[in-house]
Subunit: 422 residues, 2 copies
């Protein structure tokens, strides 16, 4: 692939319509809208089905070809001069957090749609087809295990292993999936896996760097690695009024000592370590009973595998020592090594932003994305745009219309170029 | 009142039957029995109604007079030579914690019953009537506000203020109360309040002191005071993967700092302070979201009002300073000053234990009891017996048969004496 700027790219970018893109974002946000301005659109729910229907309607009105695979990943194709060439993929997801916003996921899908329309209007033909994709269940808001669609597509896991997962509403994933597929019986069915030429995922940053720096676009260099684990601390229940302090095995106090020790272990003057205890469950959680058990979660992330290995490997001993005499048990729940996007992919985005005169920096993603799985099977990168206060997974999530359009222009140029490369 | 030992007391104590008392404890524990050996007998539940029926049957078989008041406090009277004299009260409660044991509450009621039977068998007549009482909803396990029956009886609160309380099962207290009263339509109805000559509450210690010292009985000197409060810590939610540590307002980390500061404030080389954080609720409690809000409970107890005032008064400032930049809000949920039982009552118990040759120490109660409210309107004291490992509010709660009997013997002597005093 080359990273130069081509004329077709300029024409496609120029045809991106800020107002049209914005209107599509607002129209989609009405599906599953919350009264507080946010969006609740659980994967494979009635709202997800309605969002898919809206998107399919827009695509078919533009003569684009819609298809779906067995995990309900939705594809929208703009044909290329070589209809059977491996397509360039662009997209993200339609599902949201329970108290999510209008942009997380939706922006990636609709920026893709805007670019396909812009390519048509600019009269740009590409060698390769370009497929918009809306991956199924990225958020894990209804069914806990996230990135279901991209993970299955990339062969990182088997669809069959997800079918029995029970959602927060008690419905099995297999049942919700069947209902979603049954809602579009006429769609062409894609096979389980097939080669893609490249994948670009546009997304809001979900962090404060672009906004703080007043920069409209980032070429994302990769996704930091994570170590997730649950720590169980086992103490001894007792009556809060009668048990002398010296005789207590208070699981909460032990957990506090353990978290304090982890704060020290994770301290980083460069502020690149991300360490979060987001969940604490106390048993029996009664004001006048000494806590018998505490479970707390650890979310530890870093872009450098060596740091993850080193500090991650010292968590168990730190927790055990600090929590004594209470006993501790650590269960890893997710281990993801850092993902590094190919330099050529990052460079193409940078070059196109530069060619369009749109400010762009390189940035690592702090959050997971479907791009993490796609990167295992095809050259992948992401384009970030700023979001207000770095806020995401929140009803107040917001991106400015001009930033949405600037991201889509860089995307248009990048896709035009990728779809013409062999 | 005198504190000497009288012959009727010796005869009553001698008639206490360890096996009969133990059998009644085991029979009652079968009502609401849990598969783990514990008891779940919520106040005013079907299990409570069944426990009352069992007790009423035993009482009526012995010719004792059963009555009930408007808050379903259950009374079982052994008549005195002066039928209209203010009675001596003895008892505790029949309700349990959700995962409670066989002795908390039940022992006080059944030790009372054993003593009334023993008095009959010993042919001891008393001047005053002796009333066993089973107070309604001591535990607060179903309806949050505890000691409902004793509080209303003592005039510390109005029954009407409780009727709308909604139980953990969604049922209003008023409705559950009506159902309980309707189950015994033939019982004589006692008026709301009436004078009692004295109240003795036998109970397991719920702490380790008697067992550690190998002492069978304690004369309880009073009940320590408490300050309960809830602390809310308000931070800012954010994505665990993207938000730099330096920009976080993590409500959980702020709560940990606050609890650490409280640990320091509450430290006590004499180990008389009781300080417990038993409940922690994190919002949104998601592993990959920085906690936005944390609520934690404070249970602070001490027998000395001055200590409660001094350290209790410094909690708010300590929490506020430690939790900054997160904001904090403290809501007191219960303030109880220490209760001191009359010296004469404590001395009577001591003298009777001594007269019977049963080892006895003085001890302050770390836990609340109905005696706390009764002490407001009549001379009150408690008798403690040991429990294994100091454990209570737990299915493994256990008291030895011989300790149950020894406590009942001291109780028998004490009641015989109190019921013959003017």
């Amino acid at each position: 692939m080359e990273s130069g700027f081509i004329e077709a790219a300029r024409a496609a970018a120029a045809a991106v319509d800020e107002g049209r893109l914005w209107q599509s974002l607002m129209d989609l946000a009405a599906v599953g809208a919350r009264s507080d301005g946010g969006v609740c659109r659980h994967a494979l729910s009635d709202e997800d089905i309605a969002a898919r229907a809206l998107l399919i309607g827009w695509a078919e009105a533009r003569g684009l070809e819609v298809s779906v695979d067995e995990v309900a990943n939705l594809f929208i194709r703009r044909r290329g001069r070589q209809p059977d060439a491996a397509p360039v993929l662009v997209g993200s997801h339609l599902d949201s957090q329970p108290a999510g916003g209008k942009f997380d996921g939706a922006y990636g899908v609709l920026a893709g749609l805007e670019v396909l329309i812009a390519l048509d209007e600019a009269g740009v033909e590409t060698q390769r087809p370009i497929d918009i994709v809306a991956w199924t269940n990225e958020e894990g808001g209804r069914f806990d295990r996230s990135c279901t669609g991209s993970s299955v597509w990339a062969g990182a896991s088997e669809l069959e292993s997800y079918l029995g997962d029970i959602g927060a509403d008690g419905v099995a994933l297999g049942e919700a999936l069947a209902k979603t597929l049954a809602a579009t019986p006429d769609l062409a069915r894609r096979p389980r896996r097939w080669p893609a030429h490249a994948f670009i995922e546009p997304h809001i940053e979900q962090g404060p760097v672009l906004e703080t720096g007043n920069i409209p676009v980032a070429a994302v260099t990769g996704i930091q690695g994570v170590r997730w684990m649950n720590v169980e601390v086992a103490g001894k229940a007792g009556h809060a009024g009668t048990t002398p302090m010296a005789e207590r095995h208070d699981a909460l106090q032990a957990a506090l000592r353990a978290i304090g020790e982890l704060n020290t272990l994770m301290s980083d003057p460069h502020d690149r370590v991300r360490f979060t205890v987001g969940r604490v469950n106390v048993t029996p959680n009664s004001p006048n009973t000494i806590p018998e058990k505490v479970m707390f979660s650890i979310d530890f992330r870093h872009p450098d595998e060596a740091v993850l290995e080193d500090r991650g490997g010292r968590i168990a001993e730190a927790v055990k020592t600090a929590a004594a005499p209470c006993r501790t048990l650590i269960t890893p729940t997710l281990t993801m090594d850092p993902t590094t996007f190919p330099e050529a992919m990052v460079a193409i985005i940078e070059a196109n932003a530069s060619g369009l005169g749109i400010g762009c920096i390189r940035l690592a993603s702090g959050a997971f994305h479907d791009a993490l799985y796609a990167a295992r099977v095809c050259p992948t990168a992401m384009i970030f745009i700023p979001c207000r206060n770095g806020l995401s997974h929140h009803p107040d999530e917001w991106a400015e219309p001009r930033h949405c359009a600037e991201g889509a222009r860089v995307l248009a140029a990048t896709l035009a170029q990728l779809a013409d490369t062999s």
